[in-house]
């Protein structure tokens, strides 16, 4: 199981942040963040087999769509592709997704595709087994219009708290910052995560 947080914050530099944690039982980090296009990332939740199959199909559809339109795809297009696949095959699949990225039309966006195929845009969203422990923290600490540094700190803190409580989340926190200008990966190993009073 794993955990991820997606956030977006506004401002001239529009960014989204993705974080993920490794599986407890595996010995290396499993990459659950798939880049489906230059400025669009997709985070998987649920049955990893289902999720991988769906994102691979979505990646293909999206690149085809992008060639046809002769322009980079919109984030909502990527999310919709996933949603179609999830909804049409809802009986067989057990996978949820968080799609985040930047496009020219609406700037930074975060979309969540839930288990049955619902598509919803949210400014911030969390998912995975460890997410239940940080709903209160995210509700309390999230403010619209945070800067990139505040957002990174918020995401790292939230992850550290969830990892502290969820037995199947842990290891390394991977964060990705997506802006108009590019994509930046930030990796925080377990021992560098923020500590709280109970440790």
């Amino acid at each position: 199981m794993d955990k991820r947080i997606w956030m977006k914050f506004s401002g001239k530099r529009s960014v989204c942040i993705v974080v993920l944690l490794r599986e407890y039982v595996s010995s290396k980090t499993i990459n659950k963040v798939i880049q489906v296009h230059d400025r669009i990332f997709c985070c998987m939740a649920g049955s990893l087999a289902d999720a991988q199959a769906v994102t691979k199909a979505a990646k293909f559809h999206l690149s085809f769509h992008s060639v046809q339109m002769e322009s980079p795809p919109l984030v909502i297009a990527a999310a919709s592709v996933l949603k179609e696949l999830c909804y049409k095959n809802k009986e067989e699949l057990q996978a949820g997704f968080i799609t985040a990225g930047w496009d020219m039309k609406k700037g930074p966006q975060v979309y969540v595709v839930a288990l049955g195929g619902m598509l919803v845009r949210q400014p911030v969203t969390i998912g995975g087994s460890g997410s239940t422990f940080i709903y209160g923290y995210v509700d309390a600490k999230y403010k619209p219009s945070m800067t990139k540094e505040e957002c990174l700190q918020f995401a790292t803190n939230a992850l550290a708290l969830a990892m502290g409580r969820d037995n199947v989340s842990g290891g390394v926190a991977n964060l990705v910052v997506i802006t108009e200008t590019g994509v930046e990966h930030v990796v925080v190993p377990g021992d560098k995560l923020p500590r709280f009073h109970d440790e």
Partner: protein, 234 residues
Amino acid sequence: MAAAVATMMPNLGQQISSKNDMIPDWTSQEVSTGTTIMAVEYDGGVVIGADSRTTTGAYIANRVTDKLTPIHDRIFCCRSGSAADTQAIADVVTYQLGFHSIELDEPPLVETAANLFRASCYRYREELTAGILVAGWDRRKGGQVYCVPIGGMLVRQPVSVGGSGSTYIYGFMDSNYKPGLTKEQCLELTAAALSLAMERDGSSGGVVRLATISEDGVERRVILGNQLPKFSTH
């Protein structure tokens, strides 16, 4: 409690097929204090808090429940899990503790009350569904919080949360609690944490009931729904 209504219906519901749309599911469900409960120690006493929702399935049987139950003058318990089980256990412990206190001819220790809860919860662990926080003040150790979760473990903690809504506020608690808070800070922390949990947990809601227990006595207060701390909505 409105549990009487729920208990009168079940026989009817079970004779007719459970797929019958005329009989709602909740008429045959057990009464549960779904709940979020919390207790925090501070120097000189404890602050305890709880939400006020009791559910039978999807129906809210009581929206103004008092889950903070006095066991003795300076000892309270916060109840979560099955309403019937926790009420029964609390009654038993109140009796046992009252008797013990008369024998001793002095106020009982919080640790004693906690151990009485643990004894009942552990012995009958297969039959019971009860998660209880025991909190109070005594002369020997001051303010204390003891956690007796389902299964019958006993552990003392400076701060403890319980109930179905507690999972949502572990992160908030871990980041906001520090040792050495004042009574006012504890009250604010408890009210904020309970509000956050009530926002997210379907089995928690209503009003926030708080109580402060110290050498001077017990002080109770209620925060109504529209007065709860508000957080950014997204």
